[in-house]
């Protein structure tokens, strides 16, 4: 058990739910309400300095009693220490946590993936839309246990949806890297970009 746990309990008290060690890794469960403050403290406190966000993912267990966990894998590059922070959520309830994009910019695509695969909303994320599946994918959230392996719809329907999807339906100006040349873009591209800011379902 790394001493970060003790420091966390000292600072945040009851918001640290439980902690254990698995395969040499320390895992800390934190409450959703204070999760952002805890992660910010972990990043900024001079004794902790977890300045590298390795991964954000979610895990839903087959056991219906267990909760859906949002997992943050942190690393301190200076201290060469790892920490895993988990936020347990009710799998049937509202899946919403606060985004850590303001702390680590790498959370941008990591949170998009968690949204795409599990349907966990990240409040405060600048551009929460699908990343692995295509923009208009409406079959559901594939890695949930309630989502069948082969998808809800028939193969013919999935093929039809796939062929109709436009791979370029949504691009932000940053991704197209043409924000300076906006004035010179053709009209249809400008219209499409002007509709940006709308998250497609």
């Amino acid at each position: 058990m790394s001493d970060t746990v003790a420091a966390l309990r000292a600072k945040f008290g009851a918001d640290i739910l439980r902690a254990h060690v698995v395969c040499g890794q320390t895992v800390v469960y934190v409450s959703n309400a204070k999760a952002h403050a805890i992660l910010a403290w972990l990043q900024q406190d001079p004794d902790q300095l977890f300045n590298y966000l390795t991964d954000i993912t979610c895990v839903e267990y087959r056991d219906a009693e267990r909760e859906l966990e949002v997992v943050y894998q942190l690393r301190s590059l200076d201290r060469k220490a790892d920490l895993r922070v988990k936020i347990p959520l009710d799998p049937d309830g509202a899946l919403e946590v606060r985004s850590v994009f303001d702390l680590w910019y790498g959370a941008d695509w990591l949170e998009r993936e968690a949204w795409d695969m599990f349907g966990v909303k990240f409040r405060g994320h600048p551009d929460l839309r699908r990343i692995l599946m295509w923009e208009g994918y409406s079959e559901g959230f594939p890695l949930r246990k309630s989502f069948p392996l082969r998808g809800h719809w028939s193969r013919a329907e999935q093929t039809r949806q796939a062929l109709e999807a436009n791979p370029e339906a949504y691009y932000s100006l940053e991704e197209l890297s043409i924000s300076e040349a906006y004035r010179e873009l053709p009209l249809d591209v400008r219209e499409r970009l002007a509709k940006a800011g709308k998250v497609l379902p």
Partner: protein
Amino acid sequence: MLQPYIPILLLLGFVVFNAVVIIAASTFLSSYRPTATKQAAYESGMPVIGDARERFSVKFYLVAMLFIVFDIETVYMIPWAVAFQQMKEFSGVLLLEMLTFVVILGVGYIYIWKRGALQWD
């Protein structure tokens, strides 16, 4: 009198015949099946954004024009060199004439250099 040019005429005829045969063969033997997607631009399988009509920089025209001018100058030097060789008794005058020609064009060269036309960026 024009005897040595007959092979060139034959070659020209053959070239024209070859081109016509190739185009005619591909017109009759090809399977031309145009569809809308087939005639759209290729963007790695993505639907096309915008058209390919971009504005061209005028620098290309400028470089091409300057090249032509100085290339013609070189072209004029070649028959002068032949004449120079044949009229060795006037060599001093001929050299002076060519140098005058080069200097006149050199003034033009210095002008475009100072105006920055040779600067690409």
